[in-house]
């Protein structure tokens, strides 16, 4: 009976199923087969035996990863950077969106939006090149300005301590336009009657922002932040790799799990350890995103991912 239904549906929906086929094959190839490949983390990989034929070696790869001394550094960096990005890249766009909504004449809003959105369109390679123009010791604009006011230039590319600040600023630089537009759309969606009512009651603009705009924006903010928290173990490879490159001097303060895995794979061809680190990241990421979704679900069932 059940089986009969299955075949009947197969015939009935054959066109729709055929239309889905390319997409399904695509995700099997780029996502599900690599998922099965996580067994590599428990194997001593060699080229001849392949992913599934190579001998098991238990937790040796993980032991190696944890004892390398980098595990804690890269985890801490990944999480702390992401937390900083979440705070700055939400707070700044929210402020910008409120101001755009409140003060801007239409032409001014357009101009500002166009200027702020530009960095979003540039590749990370270009961003890396721009950063070089700003921070280079000999010719960079920052040091040019410092020299101009008679201060000592600073050797940014050889000083790890500057990088957390720089990376947060660069990330905000690229993200502020995108975020502002998204939050502006949310503000535009707020019922205008509320504003009119506040006006009649004699509220000033700041009271209006504080009592109407922000509370109405809060649900969107909470959802976006929670979802971002779900990705707190995923580093932004493009940002870190192009800003820092393979400049080992800066690794201590800039190495995240993603760059660590990439370097272990490409520079030292350490398949075992890099796949152990990747597995570690996938599991942590999976758990946090489930937790984040659980929190979203508690807060507002309709906006949960699943």
């Amino acid at each position: 009976m059940n089986r009969n239904n299955f075949w009947r549906n197969l015939v009935r929906y054959h066109t729709l199923l055929l239309m889905l086929l390319p997409g399904v094959l695509f995700f099997i190839l780029v996502a599900y087969i690599p998922m099965a490949g996580i067994v590599l983390a428990f194997k001593k990989y060699n080229y001849n035996d392949g992913i599934f034929g190579s001998p098991w070696n238990g937790f040796d790869n993980f032991k190696f990863f944890l004892q390398s001394g980098d595990a804690w550094d890269v985890t801490r960096n990944t999480v702390l950077y992401n937390i900083a990005f979440i705070i700055v890249n939400n707070l700044l766009p929210i402020i910008m969106a409120i101001l755009l909504f409140e003060v801007a004449k239409k032409w001014f809003r357009k101009v500002i939006q166009t200027m702020m959105f530009l960095p979003y369109f540039l590749s990370w390679v270009v961003v890396g090149a721009i950063a070089y123009n700003l921070f280079n010791y000999d010719f960079g604009l920052v040091n040019g300005l410092l020299r101009g006011v008679g201060m000592e230039p600073i050797d940014i590319y050889n000083t790890p301590a500057y990088w957390p600040t720089i990376l947060v600023i660069v990330s905000a630089w690229k993200a502020v336009g995108y975020g502002s537009i998204m939050y502006l759309a949310a503000i535009t969606g707020i019922d205008t009657e509320m504003y009119e009512a506040a006006e009649i009651d004699g509220a000033n603009v700041f009271q209006r922002i504080w009592k109407i705009t922000i509370p109405n924006l809060l649900p969107t903010v909470i959802i976006l932040v929670l979802l971002a928290v779900g990705n707190v173990f995923r580093g932004d490879f493009g940002l870190f790799y192009n800003m820092v490159g393979n400049n080992g001097l800066l690794f201590e303060s800039t190495n995240v799990i993603d760059t660590f895995v990439f370097r272990a794979l490409t520079l030292t061809s350490d398949i075992g350890m890099s796949s152990a680190a990747g597995f570690y990241q996938s599991i942590l990421g999976f758990v946090t995103i489930l937790a984040a979704n659980y929190a979203v679900r508690k807060y507002d069932k309709d906006r949960a991912l699943f």
């Binding site: 399904v24 992913i51 101001l99 200027m115 090149a129 721009i130 280079n136 603009v205 794979l265 990747g278």
Partner: protein
């Protein structure tokens, strides 16, 4: 003390109006200033690159990168276009990858999204979860790298620059939420007239989804244009380097360029305007994006607005 001509109530009203005007003014001052500052902060670093690319090398070495060229020069561009072969090849790779990837990607994204909007399709939620799960859990870089290199043997092929970015779950969801707003009645009446599912998709849904197609298409195209990551992983053949990866290579390897140029006889002296050349290359790599930006920007704004409404 009040003037007898004005009642207390009127007085209060006037007062509140003045207060209101004052807080408006304050907000305007804060708003216009901080918006302008942030907008400048976004634009200035980019202008610095543009200006540096038009500055003579000597001036850069003397005074560093400046926002307004103190010694205007097109030397870097001249040199770049004197030896354009590699750059043109990189352009050709990027353009082919972008065109093919966007066309195929947009077709697959919209077709997949359409099936997922069909409420009568009984396995709809099952497939939706199949796609969605890939955003929750991933096998990571290493298995993917080995799959491509050792099993699919796609290292140093154009395919590997196109394939990984054809589809992504975010685009499918945005497209799906847009298509969900198309009334079911349209597809149903076509069905009664005997149209098949694929025909309905091509003849009815695609034309009705034009705004979303334009937006998603541009998102896909921008992704391909700016991609350097797949090349970093899988391309070592110089003839297959896309533009951004070529720029990445060149920025890190000015010495190599100098040697290549010396060998080919483009430059005869030993020194090369390295710094201005780097900037000129960056500007050329941004190239078309910059020209198209004012026109395409609104589609992205539109896309973000569609995307923020969850369907």
């Amino acid at each position: 003390m009040n003037s007898p001509l004005i009642t207390t109530k009127q007085h209060q009203k006037l007062l509140s109006k003045r207060v209101k005007r004052r807080d408006r003014l304050l907000l305007n001052v804060i708003g216009y200033t901080s918006l302008s500052l942030i907008a400048m902060f976004c634009l200035v670093p980019f202008l610095l690159v543009l200006s540096s690319s038009f500055t003579s090398e000597n001036s850069i070495i003397d005074k560093g990168f400046q926002l307004i060229p103190s010694d205007f020069s097109t030397e870097a561009y001249g040199l770049l276009f004197k030896y354009p072969n590699q750059m043109l090849r990189a352009y050709a790779v990027t353009i082919s990858v972008t065109v093919i990837g966007t066309a195929v990607g947009l077709f697959l994204t919209s077709m997949t999204a359409y099936v997922l909007t069909r409420k009568d399709f009984i396995w709809r939620s099952g497939f939706a979860f199949f796609f969605f799960f890939t955003t929750l859990f991933s096998g990571g870089l290493v298995p993917w790298y080995l799959l491509v290199v050792n099993y699919l043997h796609l290292k140093d092929t154009l395919i590997i620059l196109i394939l990984p970015m054809l589809l992504n779950v975010f685009n499918i969801l945005v497209m799906k939420s847009f298509m969900s707003s198309i009334p079911d009645a349209i597809a149903e009446s076509a069905k009664i007239d005997g149209a098949g599912d694929f025909l309905i998709y091509i003849k009815l849904i695609v034309p009705l989804s034009k705004p979303a197609m334009a937006t998603i298409g541009l998102f896909i195209a921008l992704g391909y244009w700016n991609d350097w990551y797949n090349a970093l992983l899988f391309i070592s053949n110089e003839n297959l380097m896309p533009l951004q990866y070529y720029l990445y290579k060149m920025l890190g390897n000015m010495e190599g360029i100098r040697k290549a140029m010396l060998l080919s006889g483009v430059v005869t002296n030993v020194s090369l305007p390295t710094e201005s050349l780097k900037n000129a290359m960056t500007v050329v790599a941004i190239g078309p994006i910059l020209l198209a930006y004012p026109f395409i920007q609104r589609f992205f704004v539109q896309g973000l607005t569609i995307g923020s409404v969850k369907g």
